[in-house]
């Protein structure tokens, strides 16, 4: 069964059609990298998956549950689909450790001790064992984003969604975030990544999706698509990002 399945999904903001009948199935273990010009609907598509946006028409199944289902279903979808944001969105009133403990305690109902164990292990994993008691404002952008990834993982999702996770970072800080994401991918996490990092798409992606004007234009193996761009539009886009 697919982890994520778009069935003729349209999304409209007012009279503006942002997603035009998207059909897409992402299987367990895939690392799907979504690229495309800004305004092409990449982020909106991603946000529909964990219901931060509601689909206008069509249906979208996440781990078998419809995003149009009850609020209980929606909450279950969100538990299964972790989200990493461009602006990190760490809770500023909590330390790095408390940020990561937040999900296990508040949404998984774990005890403080269990949550602390989970959070400590994850912060080690993202290389921030030394920064656990720091507040977000005391961390660099790259460190904040790694905490944010740990925070999402702590909820134990089956699927991770990344919405331009390195776009707000200085170039020298991007690698530390991409490295963590690559580790996740090699461990078999199902991932959908909206990004402009072509190197990451090539190295880590198992699948490359090119979006333009609300439509899914190309869908294939990253190496093949990138070495032999199938359309003029895609060729043009690649010239601009590199």
């Amino acid at each position: 069964m697919s982890m994520v399945e778009f069935k003729k999904v349209c999304k409209q903001f007012g009279s503006h059609l942002v997603l035009k009948s998207i059909d897409l199935a992402v299987d367990t273990g895939e690392v799907a990298v979504v690229i495309g010009p800004s305004g092409s609907g990449k982020s909106t598509m991603l946000r529909c998956i964990n219901v931060l946006e509601k689909v206008s028409t069509g249906d979208l199944l996440v781990d078998g549950l419809s995003v149009r289902g009850s609020s209980h279903d929606v909450r279950r979808i969100r538990l299964e689909a972790g989200m990493v944001f461009q602006q990190f969105n760490l809770f500023p009133h909590l330390t790095a450790l408390q940020n990561v403990m937040f999900g296990p305690i508040r949404s998984r109902g774990k005890s403080k001790n269990e949550a602390r164990e989970i959070a400590t292990a994850l912060l080690h994993k993202v290389g921030l064992a030394e920064r656990m008691s720091h507040y977000p404002s005391q961390l660099s952008g790259g460190q904040q984003q790694r905490v944010a990834i740990a925070r999402s993982l702590a909820v134990e999702p089956k699927l991770m969604l990344f919405d331009e996770p390195t776009s707000a970072l200085d170039p020298e800080l991007r690698q530390e975030v991409l490295k963590v994401m690559q580790t996740l991918a090699t461990e078999g996490m199902t991932m959908i990544v909206v990004t402009h990092e072509m190197g990451f798409a090539r190295r880590v992606g198992s699948r490359l999706l090119f979006m333009d004007d609300g439509q899914l234009v190309h869908d294939g193996k990253p190496v093949e698509l990138l070495s032999d761009p199938p359309s003029e539009r895609f060729r043009e886009f690649l010239k601009h990002v590199d």
Partner: protein, 218 residues
Amino acid sequence: MTFEWTAIVDALPDLLQGLELTMLIALAGLAGGIIVGALTGALLTYGGWLAQAPAQVYVALIRGTPITVQVMFIYFALPILMNIRITATNAGILTLIINSGAYNAEIVRGALESVPNGLREAGLSMGLSFRKVLAYVIAPIAVRRALPAMGNQLVSVVKDTSIFLVIGVGELTRRGQEIMSANFRAVEIWTAVAAIYLIVISILAVSLRVAERAARLP
């Protein structure tokens, strides 16, 4: 004239009794006003129009009329309209709750709206209900942002208790007036009354400053 310190010493027990009532009314008003303000502020920010409309009318009504008129209405008019009895002290407390609740509501709304939307999304995306996101993410940040403005409002509440002399509540200002009309030592008595308010409010202001500093994030 000579400043008669003994007039103050003689008046002090009475004035302190008045202060006790002032503090009782102020504390009840503060607590109630914070609760009413938080609820109304949340309605103004997140409620549908059906919840927002009455909240807006309430705020407009209170901000558009003097507190003296409000207490007169509650003490003299409300008992007639609703066929109830209300003591002067309770009328004072009720007025303060309703009055400061309206001002607090606007402060709370501003603070809630200032919390970045991304934090709400981060909470929701982890599978929390909006209520939990509000309680554990938005509120802790909003409280910190509301503290400075709220402090001003709390100080006003203490001072506004003096208005209740118009309905005969025996609070500090009323006691001062009564003593003065018996001994005519206006300078001494009003100096003492002012000094007592100043001391109480300074203590409140310093505690608020301390609370603000303790809650401040790095």
